[in-house]
């Protein structure tokens, strides 16, 4: 209960901060909430269950394309689009998990399969004219709650709500029986199987939940930017972002991935603002360096580092 209370207090404080932020700051706030949600979703499969995915873009892309295509082609309300996106993401995660985990693929091979499947999806969407092919889909701007299009401040609150939903879901998963199942699989698959846990079923459920939560960020991004294309929604960089924030923040912790996003996204924007005119890829160099330094120096991530510091202070 304490954790949920802290979370709600944090959300209220963040909501207060939003009102005094400049427009650019609000944009960064929204990005942090979005990437934070994605990293938290990734962590359900990657951190809790220990199956490193390199293809989470497929869930984001599926969510974004399902909601946007439904809205543009059939006039389906974006709110219903969110529900559809989550269902599609969950179904996709579950079925991919079922196919892959039943064949006992794990470790690097699981990572490679997810990477390949996401790339297949990217190339497939790039060749489907009904989904805008490589040119992408644009959503006509029509402000209003019904269309899920708000002002900048409105989007801040929406992003905060999204983050809160994902966070509560992650806490619920962590505390349920499933959470224990996931962690036992991560720690030792054979031991988990020996005490009667259905390891494959557990992994499939983790993939489905992770996919469903990740798919939530897709329609949000689509409605915020009003444009989606295969490169940005299904590309490898997005999958790497999800993994990167989780690793830098701390794989073993519940909210480390959010911390990773909260540190790295503003850093990215800062570097981009300072150098983008001359040096295009500089923020990605920083990503690479931060990633390697964290793995080498603090394998528990920033969250673990912080927890250590606090514990030492308390002594």
């Amino acid at each position: 209960m304490k954790l949920v209370c802290n979370l709600l207090i944090g959300a209220i404080v963040a909501g207060g901060i939003v009102t005094v932020l400049p427009v650019y700051g609000q944009h960064i706030f929204i990005l942090v909430a979005l990437y934070g949600s994605l990293a938290l979703a990734w962590n359900v499969l990657g951190g809790m269950t220990g199956q490193i995915s390199l293809g989470h873009a497929i869930f984001v892309g599926a969510g974004a394309y399902v909601a946007t295509a439904l809205y543009l082609q059939l006039g389906v309300n974006p709110w219903i689009g969110f529900v559809c996106a989550t269902l599609v993401g969950g179904a996709l995660g579950g079925s991919l998990g079922y196919i892959v985990f039943r064949r006992q693929l794990s470790g690097v091979f699981f990572a490679l399969v997810t990477l390949a499947i996401a790339e297949m999806a990217r190339h497939a969407v790039s060749n489907i004219s009904g989904l805008g092919a490589a040119n992408g889909l644009a959503i006509p701007p029509q402000h209003g709650l019904a269309n899920f299009q708000f002002s900048k401040t409105g989007f801040c609150y929406a992003a905060l709500a999204l983050l809160l939903v994902v966070s509560l879901a992650v806490i619920a998963i962590q505390r349920s029986r499933l959470g224990y199942v996931f962690r036992s699989i991560r720690e030792n698959e054979r031991a988990a199987a020996a005490v009667g846990i259905d390891v494959i079923q557990g992994k499939v459920i983790a993939a489905a939940l992770s996919g469903a939560l990740a798919a939530l960020t897709g329609p949000f991004y689509a409605n915020y930017v009003l444009f989606i294309d295969p490169e940005s929604m299904l590309g490898i960089p997005l999958s790497i972002d999800a993994l990167l924030f989780a690793f830098v923040g701390g794989l073993g912790s519940l909210f480390g991935p959010l911390l990773g996003a909260a540190v790295l996204v503003p850093l990215t924007e800062l570097l981009r603002g300072l150098f983008s005119s001359r040096f295009a890829g500089i923020h990605l160099i920083a990503y690479g360096v931060v990633l390697i330094v964290v793995i080498r120096v603090a394998p528990q991530g920033l969250w673990g580092l912080m927890a250590d510091l606090i514990a030492r202070r308390a002594k």
Partner: protein, 292 residues
């Protein structure tokens, strides 16, 4: 359809030529995996480094790409040795996902360092030595591409011979098969790892100047090769050099023929589908059991 049929031999030959290059890139990857048990996501980026070194040699000093070989090969091998010492060796005992993430980080750094230094412009480096195009009936073959494939095949076979028939190769295989037993027999395992990594990644310094005359150069070219090399390596069985050679030809031909019969980038879906199916249903690859 008839016009497609008449283009088929050309596509087939193009696929074989491309496949030989895939094979040598994959051979390096399979060697590092077979010996160190580490999957290097930055593998192809060493090729990019080699290509840009060739580019510097060609534009700043006016060297022919083939002349650049003289300094590209040692520099890339040196870079590989440095990478091994600084990044790979310390992570050898870490959990598998840490190794994945470290090489991913290295890939991000290399790719974007090149992007920052050279911009995203796509370059080509024509060679004066091999600029001709041979014609056999209806089939056209660039001499540069032919040269690169022949050298690739020779190097693949030479690597195979080196590992099978020389004392050093025997030691490397010993380190790969059981590093503790090898250690007890007096094999300097760490040194063997270093040598294997240098050969595996450094061989890309040989490939780069060879493919420079007919391949475009951009900061992202290496990661395309990394992905294809993964596919080839898994297809031809991890750690199997001859498998990498055969797998390279298969993927090259599939890519070229599928590219002929489909539009857009659908041919890439075909190769990824092969990859996923092999991993799911025949993870030991086409040649199975035989490791280094």
């Amino acid at each position: 359809m008839p016009e497609l049929l008449s283009l088929l031999p050309q596509a087939f030959i193009d696929g074989l030529l491309l496949g030989a290059v895939y094979a040598i890139v994959a051979a390096g990857l399979t060697l590092t995996f077979g010996v160190l048990r580490i999957i290097n996501f930055a593998h192809g980026d060493f090729l990019t480094v080699g290509l840009y070194l060739t580019y510097i040699g060609a534009t700043s000093f006016g060297f022919d790409p083939y002349v650049c070989l003289v300094f590209v090969l040692p520099l890339v091998a040196l870079a590989a040795a440095f990478t091994y010492k600084v990044l790979i060796a310390p992570t050898l005992l870490d959990p598998e996902h840490n190794q994945v993430v470290v090489t991913l980080g290295l890939s991000l750094i290399l790719q974007n360092l090149i992007l920052t230094l050279f911009t995203a412009d796509v370059h080509t480096i024509p060679s004066r030595i091999a600029a001709r195009t041979l014609r056999f009936d209806d089939i056209f073959v660039q001499t540069a591409a032919l040269g690169a494939s022949i050298v690739s095949i020779i190097v693949c076979l030479a690597l195979f011979w080196f590992l099978r028939a020389t004392e050093l190769g025997r030691r490397i295989r010993a380190a790969a098969q059981d590093h503790e037993a090898a250690l007890m027999c007096g094999v300097d395992v760490n040194r063997m790892y270093l040598i294997a990594f240098c050969i595996g990644s450094g061989s890309l310094g040989l490939v780069a100047p060879l493919i420079a005359p007919f391949n475009y150069i951009s900061p992202g070219v290496g990661s395309n090769f990394t992905l294809t090399a993964f596919i080839v390596v898994v297809l031809g069985s991890l750690g199997n050099l001859v498998g990498a050679l055969v797998g390279g030809f298969i993927i090259g031909v599939v890519e070229a023929v599928a590219g002929l019969t489909t539009v857009g980038s659908i041919n890439l879906i075909v190769t990824y589908a092969i990859f996923v199916l092999i991993l799911l249903f025949k993870p030991e690859g086409l040649f199975g059991g035989r490791r280094l």
